[in-house]
Assembly symmetry: C2
Homo-oligomer: 135 residues x 2
DNA sequence: CATACTGTAATAAAATATGTTACAAATGTA
DNA sequence: TACATTTGTAACATATTTTATTACAGTATG
């Protein structure tokens, strides 16, 4: 559930924000992340689905930001690349005949919902521009 | 890095807290979680290393809480089962010749450090007893 | 029309998580 | 003492997820 998606996506967006007038190729972006270009294109597909970037096919094609980086927050990026943050669940269905087993996931859910609230508040306060300005 | 460890561990501890006078067997605990007993014993080994539980080998053996559940916080459980919370890193080493690649992990680290701070504060406010009382 | 891209599917490889088997050692109990 | 039950732990097996690769059709540029 946790993977490198958020990190990769924010890396892509930071690069796009550094070159707001250029269409960057997946090959170029992949070179900065040190990642396979196909995986970059997959994350870009996700960003496109959320109308955060636009791409141009064909020669000299590539991708550029389609939104104002001061208005895009890390919370939105988080939500595009993660469902929620949590500390995991036991994978198997716990025993419904045990009072603890029966309610454990419900109680973990409540705990994790609070965590998400706190993390979301933090991330909402940081724009892509803010993040990008650190470089 | 994220797995079911936290969930499994808190499940174990909740059970132990429900039966504070009994040594529960890994078999019994595994039945509630619906997990292999060996994996339960592995998590218990971790708890023992932190002096949270004590075990008795041999017939009628098992594990029981060794601490006051009102004093053990979820933060401590979190730290025993996770290093930190984060939204991941690109797995490969980013390109050090790119200004973004060179600093991306450092900047993500700073972001995640803040997240951990917030999550830790939340978890510190919840004791095992509090959690267990929800069942 | 050659070139350089995106988009996407199919497949492979690697990494991680979970499960199983096995058995020595400990301990209670008949 | 002999037996049954349980922990502790290692070794191995399987499943799942993540990451990488290959391939190629489609699109735009010059």
């Amino acid at each position: 559930m946790l993977s490198g998606k958020f990190a990769i996506t924010i890396h892509i967006l930071t690069l796009l924000n550094k070159f707001p007038n250029d269409y960057l190729s997946s090959e170029y972006i992949a070179g900065s992340i040190n990642l396979n270009p196909v995986l970059v294109r997959k994350e870009i597909a996700n960003l496109k689905a959320h109308h955060i970037v636009e791409s141009k096919e064909g020669k000299n094609g590539g991708t550029k930001l389609a939104v104002d980086s001061s208005k895009l927050t890390l919370k939105e990026i988080f939500e595009m690349t993660f469902e929620t943050i949590n500390l995991g669940y036991a994978k198997n269905q716990p025993n419904p005949d045990c009072p603890v087993g029966k309610k454990i996931n419900e109680n973990l859910d409540a705990l994790y919902a609070d965590m998400n609230q706190k993390v979301s508040t933090q991330l909402q306060g940081i724009s892509l521009e803010d993040f990008s300005n650190q470089f």
